[in-house]
């Protein structure tokens, strides 16, 4: 145990995801030895992220204004919505420069074992967005793990009766890998989703 403020800092840092007691101690002593201007910059960044950043009223992505950058952009295709779990998935898809539609951020995936059900996610908001008929395609881009698959299954079932094209991101072999190292689930999916050479 250290003197008051140092121990408080170690305790607070230790609450961050992926930071154990040893790492918390190392970061705390790094900050203690750092230039005061650097620490002040970090403090400002932390304060501003809580004060200025909010969630887009349309898609739920992080935004500095009422709506996020993607929802404000008039060049984006209003007819396509890509459903993702977290704001960081929006960034990952934006990096591809392949998608020109808009997003819907659920805020997680259905995980009954963690007590997270459909009502804990922004599924109701998604249904409201789909109600006016503007959207013609819904891309389900939840994570390709069990919870992501179950969430996609649930949403697909909800919108089944709507006049909507529902697609799921393809799963398969990572580019640059060797076929022999692929696990059978991924390889099976790659076979399922194989495409014809045109």
């Amino acid at each position: 145990m250290y003197e008051g403020p140092v121990q408080d800092l170690i305790d607070e840092l230790g609450r961050l995801p992926g930071v154990g007691p040893k790492s918390a101690q190392r970061i705390a002593f790094h900050l203690l030895a750092a230039d005061p201007a650097d620490v002040r910059r970090l403090v400002t960044a932390l304060t501003e992220v809580k004060d200025k950043v909010r969630f887009c009223t349309i898609c739920g992505n992080v935004a500095e204004e009422e709506q996020c950058r993607v929802c404000r952009d008039p060049r984006r295709d209003l007819a396509v919505i890509c459903v993702v779990e977290e704001p960081k998935d929006v960034v990952a898809i934006e990096r591809t420069r392949e998608f020109r539609g808009r997003y819907h951020v659920l805020g997680g995936a259905i995980s009954p074992i963690e007590g997270v059900g459909p009502d804990d996610l922004r599924i109701r908001e998604l249904m409201t967005r789909l109600a006016d008929g503007t959207v013609t395609e819904l891309i389900l881009a939840t994570d390709p793990n069990l919870e992501g698959e179950a969430t996609a299954t649930y949403i697909a079932r909800l919108v089944k009766e709507m006049d909507l094209k529902v697609t799921r991101l393809a799963s398969g072999l990572p580019v640059g890998g060797d076929l022999e190292y692929a696990d059978e689930v991924t390889l099976g999916r790659a076979f399922e989703g194989r495409r014809a050479y045109s």
Binding site: G18, P112, I113, L146, Y154, P174, Y181, D183, E184, V185
Partner: protein, 250 residues
């Protein structure tokens, strides 16, 4: 000193994110009971066995025990081969997914101690997941049968054909969770719920594996049985199952 490696087959009960790209997986193994292990790098899209250590998967694993000496108490998954990919078919049907998750959580909670072998519970869990994946029965019925039999393995078999207090045989209908089953009129505490005869018959069928009778039960009877079984399970676990309230009931 021997090599700190061991091999076992297991059902993946739960996964939790760890650090940048790892996961902690909770496993119900055939010979070593409930084990928690780190699966390194499995969240990366190029992971060699990421898809194999997902919940519901029945896998053949090689685990490294060296972490015990370092104090974390977590083994490390070094190899994984799929024995049965139940997760794929279960996640493709929302009703099966919610019921299956409750199966996994029940199995986890009924193994109070880590590394205490429970072969019967392991085999029962594999059977329940196989049944859910094959869609043999209504998912909630498969779940209820699993809960009743898992409780029986743990020593909490409900008494359905005689009074749980005085052993008087007969078709008693007052079900008292605290007593461990049905009780006769004499031992019935005030306000104890009366359960339909069909419901008790369904519970007996689920216990004994009489599936033709269980499958033929009316939806109303199935709902009442689910309610009694859930109450009985929660009583013995002391703390409620998170997944049970999210099970989709038709």
């Amino acid at each position: 000193m021997g090599v700190p490696l061991y091999r076992d087959d297991a059902i993946v009960l739960r996964t939790q994110k760890l650090g940048e790209a790892d996961r902690i997986v909770t496993l119900l193994t055939r010979r070593h009971g409930r084990v928690r292990a780190v699966a390194k790098g499995v969240r990366r899209t190029g992971s060699k066995f990421g898809a194999r250590v997902e919940p519901f998967m029945h896998v053949d694993l090689q685990l490294h025990t060296s972490a015990v000496e370092s104090g974390s108490g977590l083994d490390i998954v070094t190899q994984a081969e799929t024995l049965a990919p139940y997760g794929e078919t279960i996640a493709a049907d929302y009703g099966r997914y919610t019921a299956g998750t409750a199966v996994l959580e029940t199995a986890e909670r009924l193994t109070a101690e880590e590394r205490e072998p429970s072969l019967r519970l392991f085999l029962l869990t594999v059977g329940a997941l196989r049944s859910l994946a094959d869609g043999e029965h209504v998912p909630t019925l498969a779940l209820d049968a699993f809960i009743l039999r898992a409780l029986a393995i743990s020593g909490y078999e409900p008494v359905l054909d005689s009074c749980a207090r005085c052993d008087q045989p007969g078709a008693h209908r007052a079900f008292v969770v605290a007593a461990g089953g049905v009780v006769c009129a004499e031992h019935r505490p005030p306000g104890a719920p009366i359960v339909a005869t069909e419901t008790l018959r369904l519970m007996s069928a689920l216990m004994s594996g009489d599936w033709p009778s269980a499958d033929a039960a009316e939806p109303k009877t199935q709902r009442e049985a689910s309610g009694v079984i859930a109450a009985y399970l929660q009583w013995h676990l002391e703390r409620g199952l998170r997944s049970l309230r999210l099970v989709e009931r038709s």
